[in-house]
């Protein structure tokens, strides 16, 4: 076969038709463009495929089979290309199928954990990692757990009814007996839980108590008559103030960041001795911020729960959860924590 063989020429022209047609359908970008390509190639009257079909009649009958087979393949390819192009441009132009991707999403409604809970849970996790288990006790306490066992004697001013919420029990005796009497009260500190834990178990003890405490402070941006404390207690043979400082430093760094340093300032609490205030300083800051109180469990407290202070020693610390929470979340008014305004709650 040579190139001037009429069959070869016709087949070559079919191939050219195929590639031109495919290219026309592929590049057509609009329904109009696709239609134009269809008319040009697949038009029933003057389409080029139609012309190519006509050509078969000009060929020698012996060549017609080969030409016919090739023609059918080309025609099929072009019809598929047309169909693909039609679907492609139709989808593009169909307004119902298009989404405005800049519209906001439809959100599932989820609630929010209170920031105080988030703070408390974080504290439980952090102290849990250094071996402190959660302990609990009642919020309405007897004076034994709130005062006596905490080395706060009957004459101590801390028992003053002006500074505590005692339950109303009709007439209270005055002038005799302990200050404030011996009626139950809302606990003024979570240290009560220390006593309950130590009364119930033998050393070693490593617990934190988290919960509500109550003091009749005048309510303002930084004071609430009800607030939350976390109290830690560790009692064992050989527990020292260096352990206390190390635990608090571990906590401060884990909770607030590696560039936090802490210091102890002497203070006074009846249930610890030595007693200290714990301050912290952020790197780059120039003000020490009070974090809470701490100290070595007073020997009288150990004795009150039946421990031998010559055998074991212990430390205790107490931190205000509101203060930590407010500092962490840039909350400037403690009252926001108890108003339960969902515009506030849904930020956390």
């Amino acid at each position: 076969m040579t190139t001037d063989d009429p069959l070869s020429t016709a087949l070559a022209e079919l191939d050219a038709l195929r590639s031109e047609g495919l290219s026309a359908f592929e590049t057509a970008a609009t329904p109009e463009g696709v239609e134009a390509a269809r008319v040009e190639f697949l038009g029933q009257k003057n389409g080029r495929v139609k012309s190519a079909q006509e050509r078969i009649k000009t060929l020698d009958p012996s060549a017609r089979k080969a030409y016919g087979q090739r023609f059918n393949a080309v025609k099929g390819d072009l019809e598929s290309a047309f169909e693909a192009a039609r679907v492609r441009v139709e989808r593009k132009s169909d307004a119902r199928a298009r989404v405005d991707v800049t519209l906001p999403g439809v959100r599932p409604r989820l609630g929010h954990r209170h920031p105080l809970t988030q703070t408390a849970e974080e504290l439980i996790d952090l102290f849990g990692r250094i071996g402190f288990e959660v302990a609990r006790g009642p919020e309405v306490e007897d004076v034994h757990h709130n005062f006596d066992a905490l080395n706060i004697p009957p004459s101590h001013p801390a028992r003053d009814p002006l500074d505590n919420f005692y339950l109303a029990v009709g007439e209270r005796t005055s002038g005799v007996g302990p200050i404030g009497g011996d009626v139950p009260m809302l606990r003024s500190q979570t240290s009560t839980v220390q006593i309950r834990v130590m009364e119930a178990r033998k050393p070693p003890v490593r617990v934190i108590a988290i919960g509500r405490v109550y003091r009749p402070d005048t309510v303002d941006a930084t004071h609430s008559f009800m607030f939350h404390q976390v109290e830690g207690l560790m009692v064992d043979r050989g527990v020292t103030m260096a352990d206390l400082k190390s635990v608090l430093r571990l906590f401060a760094r884990a909770y607030l960041g590696r560039d936090v340093t802490i210091r102890f300032r002497p203070s006074f609490f009846p249930f610890t001795e030595p007693s200290v205030e714990v301050d912290m300083l952020w790197h780059g800051g120039n003000r020490w911020v009070e974090m809470g109180g701490a100290g070595m469990v007073d020997p009288n407290v150990l004795r009150a729960v039946g421990y031998d202070p010559e055998e074991v020693t212990g430390f205790a610390f107490g931190l205000g959860i509101e203060r930590l929470c407010m500092r962490r979340h840039a909350i400037d008014d403690i009252r926001l924590l108890y108003q339960n305004d969902v515009r506030f709650l849904r930020q956390f």
């Binding site: 109303a168 009800m226 260096a242 400082k245 002497p266 001795e273 070595m296 108890y338 709650l345």
Partner: protein, 671 residues
């Protein structure tokens, strides 16, 4: 306690800056509040803890500074000249209540000239915020702020009988104090009286009638000790607080009593002239025992975690004014000075050594012994509860335990006991300990509505407090409560989801109940097995109105203890069924008041062993159904564990269900 810098320099040289001084004081126990320049002097405001009454005077502070900076301190030893007849011939003091007044000293200066104080004294008092009054009164204040011992000066000529009696006030007695207010006295209160009437409240405030005035010429100086509790009670009972009562409530230096009296006389002579009569009245002049304390040196490391050498320990304690009282190879014994009655035990000495040595010596990088813990059961259950509540679209609230009486009642059927209350003037209205969390949450919902937020669906986990007939402490229970603007089934669905998330196997049952807070016919008691899990329902419209709530809502309150007891935290895998289940739906027409739960029980009993689940789908009423009936539409899933069920088996079970329902409830298939 406000301190004057210039005043301190009377007792020791201060060649340091105020910053260095206050930093060191802060780190040894006297926290700096603030300092400010006051016309050539510096006023330093220090926080003094209640155990350190010795630091409520300039001399005490000077002692502390002398220890910290190793400086010599010079305390005046007043020896005022005397003349004329002895004091005992001019006046007398009788102490009728020696336990409330362990010591009373008095001196008399006659012929004084009352007038303004010299400028230096006025200036010092002004620096520490005390208003100068007259030379005599200023001297008593000056000496109090010098040594911490409060004093009082009487106009001797105005004392009936020219003498004093320390006794309990008599019923009906009144006193006009120097603040011009009249106080009703009671026998609880210790009075200083003359022959006829009270002229002062011991340790709290003097009387107006006998105070020093421009015409005063003969002065009786009182320097005494009073029982701290008695002073405190009197002061609190009358809401009368003074620098004097503040000091007497604390343990003051018993040996300063006599010194202060002498010092006061000396300064009066100096600034107001006159003659001091020889001798003093001194009732109950006993010196309290000051037992020696032994410090075992090994205890320092045992408590503090650091070694401090023997010489340093001895130096610190001696500098603090403790007198050595013996020693052996392993211990030192000291007797504390009179002004440190807070030092009684070995641990007190350990703290003294530690704070002066400095807590910065205590390391903060000790390896804390490991102890393995995992989150407790309760924390984990609470975690699942919070997760579920949040997933249900509820926000967590934190509401106060103390509420108004009307918001304190329990959300439970039956009569309730009156709520417990606290006794405090700051909470006259909100004084009740709540027995339910729901009213607090509804109040929070109202707050939100008032701020334009009508979708405040809230939950809280907190305690409730119920009175108990026996035992001292109330019945305190932690509960989970939630309120939401949804209907009964909306909230019941949250309960069911919660039980599923806690993998609680016991079935939940609900019984209709009447609860005051909840709408009639729309409330239920929830039970898990035999235990009451809690109560729930739609809030009664009258309640909504009284709480000023616009939107309808429902509430649930559950006992945390029951959830804790039943919760399974580690869920177990069950193999997936290998054979397909067959689902059949039925619509049965029954009486309108037939509870689904009763029909369900009959369905379960009748459907045979291959029934796997019954799922309520919906209820239809009206249409072409007969009056007084409803159609309950539900699905049943059947499955055999070992093979595929045949259609005949399922049809037989369905027929049995229909037959049993018909027999029991007259149910018929809905056409």
């Amino acid at each position: 306690m406000i301190v004057s810098w210039n005043w301190l320099t009377d007792y020791l040289r201060l060649d340091i800056s105020v910053e260095v001084l206050t930093e060191r004081l802060t780190l040894s126990g006297l926290n700096l509040e603030d300092f400010s320049d006051v016309g050539g002097d510096i006023a330093i405001d220090l926080e003094v803890t209640s155990n350190r009454a010795d630091c409520l005077g300039h001399i005490g502070l000077a002692r502390e500074v002398s220890v910290l900076f190793e400086k010599k301190i010079c305390v005046p030893n007043p020896e005022p000249p005397t003349s004329g007849p002895p004091v005992g011939s001019i006046t007398g003091v009788a102490v009728e209540e020696p336990t409330l007044c362990p010591r009373f000293t008095a001196r008399v200066v006659s012929g004084v000239m009352v007038g303004p104080s010299p400028w230096w004294m006025r200036k010092r008092l002004e620096t520490i915020g005390v208003r100068p009054i007259s030379n005599i009164v200023d001297v008593t204040n000056y000496v109090m702020f010098e040594c911490g011992q409060p004093l009082h000066a009487y106009d001797l000529d105005r004392l009936n009988g020219r003498r004093l009696v320390v006794r309990r006030a008599r019923p009906g007695e009144k006193l006009t104090a120097i603040n011009n207010k009249v106080y009703d006295l009671t026998p609880d209160m210790l009075a200083i009286a003359d022959a006829d009437r009270p002229v002062g409240l011991a340790g709290v405030m003097g009387g107006l009638d006998t105070e020093i005035g421009p015409g005063t010429s003969n002065v009786l100086i009182e320097s005494a000790r009073f029982d701290p509790i008695s002073v405190r009670r009197t002061s609190r009972a009358l809401a009368l607080f003074s620098p004097s009562s503040f000091r007497f409530e604390r343990p003051i230096d018993p040996e300063a009593t006599e010194w202060a009296n002498r010092r006061c006389a000396e300064l009066i002579l100096q600034v107001a002239g006159g003659t001091l009569h020889p001798g003093r009245i001194d009732v109950g002049a006993h010196r309290p025992d000051r037992p020696a304390i032994t410090l075992r040196l090994g205890q320092l490391a045992r408590i503090l975690g650091i070694e401090i050498d023997r010489a340093t320990v001895a130096r610190i304690l001696t500098a603090l004014g403790l007198e050595p009282a013996g020693s052996d190879a392993t211990s030192l014994t000291f007797r504390p000075p009179s002004w440190r009655s807070d030092l009684e035990r070995e641990i007190d000495l350990i703290e003294e050594v530690a704070r002066i040595h400095g807590y910065d010596h205590i390391p903060e990088d000790r390896a804390v012994p490991l102890s393995s813990t995992s989150r407790g059961h309760r924390e984990r259950v609470e975690g699942v509860i919070r997760e579920t509540m949040i997933g249900a679209g509820l926000d967590e609230a934190a509401t106060f335990s103390l509420v108004e009486e009307r918001l304190a009642a329990p959300m439970a059927p039956g009569p309730s006991r009156p709520s417990l209350r606290v006794e405090h003037s700051s909470r006259r209205r909100e004084s009740a300990l709540r027995q339910s969390l729901v009213p607090s949450l509804l109040t929070a919902r109202q707050h939100n509505e008032a701020h334009g937020q009508f979708d405040a669906d809230l939950f809280e986990i907190a305690n409730t407090y119920a009175p108990r007939s026996e035992g001292v402490l109330p019945d305190e229970r932690t509960r989970l409560a939630f309120v939401a603007g949804r209907d009964f089934r909306g909230l019941k669905g949250i309960v069911e989801t919660l039980l599923e998330r806690l993998h609680i196997a016991k079935p939940l049952s609900a019984l209709p109940v009447e609860v005051p807070m909840l709408a009639t016919g729309r409330a239920a008691e929830l039970r898990l097995g035999d235990a009451i899990l809690g109560y729930m329902g739609e809030i009664d419209p009258a309640q909504l109105e009284s709480l000023e709530l616009r939107e309808a809502c429902a509430a649930t309150e559950l006992e945390l203890d029951v959830l804790l007891r039943e919760a399974v935290l580690v869920a177990q895998n069950r193999p997936m069924p290998p054979f397909p289940g067959v689902v059949r739906d039925l619509s049965l027409v029954v009486a309108r008041d037939l509870p689904w739960g009763e029909l369900e029980a009959v369905v379960r009993a009748a459907a045979g062993p291959r029934l796997e689940a019954v799922d309520y789908l919906d209820t239809f009423e009206g249409g072409n159904l007969p009056e007084g009936t409803q159609s309950l539409h539900f699905g049943m899933t059947f499955r055999h564990p070992e093979r595929t069920l045949t259609g005949e088996e399922v049809e037989a079970a369905v027929k049995a269900v229909v037959a049993a329902s018909e027999e029991r409830f007259g149910a018929r298939l809905r056409g």
